[in-house]
């Protein structure tokens, strides 16, 4: 979906004035086909549906195309929309859609990262964050005082800055090749940052992309268990005694943890 005006819309839009419903109406999403602009409009698409702009008027908010349940999980707990869009574009380059199947964007990886940052992981809740802080040897591991949330805030902003400086465009508007150039510059510390390590941020971004692609879908990524299907990973199975000695590769339909609770 081409959407050059997203950032502009974001700036012009005065959030609190409008209810979500009005906003949807005004952007034309609900009536379909007219505008399909605006950040929120673009975020509302279902992860498994590549287009949303051919709705014909009978689609209303929160009503998904036939047979597809609305995924209420696809909203933001921590990121701003801008941060979300950078993350979505970046993770899609790290793990792109291809002939094998869905990439990070379709799997919902950016939602996953957002949700993780909102909680304990984003706050380094179970990590030792007491001072004094000193720069250590690399063998001694991370010694900064910043928490993951703050590192993402800085890292994503620096990606935006670097894109603007090098290509005079926002990260999400770069061509895939240009986006890769930016990511590589972070990966190799070619970008020199004073507050955080560019390569450290890149590593966390990549690690959480893998997590978002392959964690149980209960966390908001791995949409429709699409990540598991890529690898023929059967997810949460109770027993493999029948195949453990078997020579032939066994393709098993994956099952997620949701199956462990009764759902009416």
């Amino acid at each position: 979906m081409a959407n050059e005006t997203e950032e502009q819309d974001l700036k012009d839009h005065k959030e609190p004035d409008q209810s979500r419903r009005n906003f949807l109406k005004n952007t034309g999403y609900a009536v379909g086909g007219l505008v399909v602009g605006g950040v929120v409009g673009s975020l509302l698409r279902s992860p498994n549906k590549s287009t949303t702009n051919n709705n014909t008027g009978n689609t209303t908010e929160n009503k998904a195309p036939a047979g597809e349940a609305v995924n209420f999980n696809q909203a933001l707990m921590y990121f701003t929309q801008e941060q979300f869009l950078i993350t979505e574009a970046a993770t899609e380059r790290l793990f792109p859609a291809d002939d094998n199947g869905p990439g990070a964007k379709e799997l919902g990886v950016a939602y996953f990262i957002d949700h993780q940052l909102a909680g304990e992981w984003g706050l380094n809740g179970r990590e030792y964050m007491q001072g004094p802080f000193f720069k250590g040897e690399t063998t001694q591991g991370y010694q900064g005082r910043l928490k993951r949330r703050e590192i993402f805030d800085i890292g994503l902003q620096e990606m935006q800055n670097y894109s603007n400086k090098k290509f005079q465009k926002k990260f999400k508007d770069l061509t895939p090749e240009e986006q890769d150039t930016v990511l590589k510059a972070f990966e190799t510390d070619e970008v020199k940052l004073t507050t955080i390590s560019a390569s450290g941020f890149f590593k966390t971004l990549f690690g959480s992309t893998m997590e978002g692609a392959y964690a149980d879908p209960l966390y908001g990524g791995n949409g429709n268990m699409g990540g598991w299907k890529l690898k023929n990973f059967p997810g949460n199975q109770m027993s493999y005694t029948k195949i453990i000695e078997q020579d032939k590769f066994e393709k098993i339909t994956p099952v997620s943890l949701r199956e462990h609770l009764p759902h009416s």
């Binding site: 380059r93 790290l94 793990f95 792109p96 291809d98 094998n100 990439g103 304990e120 992981w121 380094n124 809740g125 179970r126 990590e127 030792y128 964050m129 007491q130 000193f134 250590g136 040897e137 690399t138 063998t139 001694q140 591991g141 010694q143 890769d180 990511l183 990966e187 990549f206 992309t209 893998m210 997590e211 692609a213 392959y214 964690a215 149980d216 209960l218 966390y219 990540g227 598991w228 890529l230 690898k231 023929n232 990973f233 059967p234 997810g235 949460n236 199975q237 109770m238 027993s239 493999y240 005694t241 195949i243 453990i244 000695e245 078997q246 020579d247 590769f249 066994e250 943890l257 462990h260």
Partner: protein
Amino acid sequence: MATKLPKTDVVVVGVGWGGGIIAAELTKAGMNVVGLERGKERKTEDYYMVHDELRYALRYEMFQDLSKETITFRGNEKIRSLPMRSYGSFLLGDGLGGAGVHWNGMTFRFLPYDFQIKTQTIERYGKKKIPDGMTIQDWGITYDELEPYFLKFEKMAGIGGEENPLGGKRSEKYPTPPMQVSPVMKLFSDACKGLKYHPYIMPSANLSEQYTNPDGVARAACQYCGFCERFGCEYGAKADPVVTVLPVAKNTGKFELRTHSNVRRILHKGGKATGVLYIDTTTGEEYEQPADIVVMTSYVFNNTRLLLLSNMGKPYDSKSGTGVIGRNYAYQVEAAAGVGFFEEKEFNLFSGAGAMAMTMDDFNGDNFDHKDLNFIHGGSISYSQGGNRPIQNNTVPPGTPGWGKDFKAASIKYANRNVSVWAEGSCMPYRHHFLDLDPAYKDEFGDPLIRITFDFEERDREMVKFLGAKCGQILKEMGADKVVAYTEQGPYEITHYQSTHNTGGVIMGDSPDTSAVNNYLQMWDFDNCFVVGASAFAHNGGYNPTGTVGALSYRAAEGIIKYHKKPGSLA
């Protein structure tokens, strides 16, 4: 002021494998035992949603909360020690059952050579074979003396395996049959046999069949569910203290378990331990638990730390090489390994169990000639099929980019086509590797953290070169199309997982000058205080430690019962 509680016969500090075994044995013998565990209670029903790789394996659900307490680390004494702020190198147990809940269950007996390493090395190669600064010493006990206790642990846990053709003598077979053999295990076994090595099915604590142990505890068979290491077992099939020894202790009516109880000091007077001081972490209240006997089973780090904090035993001093508490800290050398990629074959690698593996000892201990080698000891070499979970297993052939389209394609293609063979390398102690209290960093109560001073040595680099090449050779013989052998040992890094096989600090031996405890794990200086765990290892062998920890725990239990009847030194 701490509230003083009624006295008990025995107080146990930390309720994992060590604490659980001690509690069961002593209560069966009629003693009253209070178990203090700082984590929460655990039970099999907790694992209803356990097949969650993110939560358990990557967010460390079951491990010690590092925001409250961690360790500090430096590679040598010239560097400033800094805290391990997030998990990496090892994962600390927490809660009832300790690390015994989320272990794999690979259950070995250290080799006869291990217990007499110094004597046997000198006998065969002469004194010069031991380099300057390497502080290996005999353990003050022989394999034969420890054999009955190994057997006791194996029967309690229901260990199944094949007899190790190159191991110490067994008085009886394993109590259960070995686990099933997957096609890759068979490839490994055939390859080793082709190379004239001696493979055998690894002894496992994941039950191969339903089993009732000598205490009458019945457990179900392993389902090869593939969520084992770092996870609790939803079937109770993996031997862990919660499903084996703790119910036995509880049934005697003589075991009082207190969870959320963090021990801060061992109390003592006139060369005798008098009890412990602990905090109820739910209320913040302090308690004193007096006891006739104090048993420390709080893992390597807190066994050492609590002794240092309590001024018990002579702290180790690396300058003079004297003192004992903190001495001979060692680890596991894990860098030697190989990965093989198979183009034609796809294996069911998502299935498996923590200790479902094939292993061999041809290059472990002194089972091979070291005359022309620049190292002593060695390691076991294994293939294990624990279940390749998708977040943590993205092994791609060398030359593949680290991310993007090609990475994605390769990580998918090889998800069920990559096989690792690895060595569990032994680790020798050195004069300059030790544990002491950190001068700067504190835990949640303001007590100093334990500090590790450790790095890999020339000996480790030589051994890794040697063992890594063997791993590669086996993979080639297994028919892998591409083989990468890892033969380089870098510096010790706290940042990536290697193993939770930390050893030493309160080592056993036959002299109070060079050891903290005797061969009943009784302190030389405080005869009513026993310090149990891998803290007693004088070096680390070429295996996972817990089989030997279990044997030593049974040995200590016997010693405590003896002491209870007739106090005094057992040595």
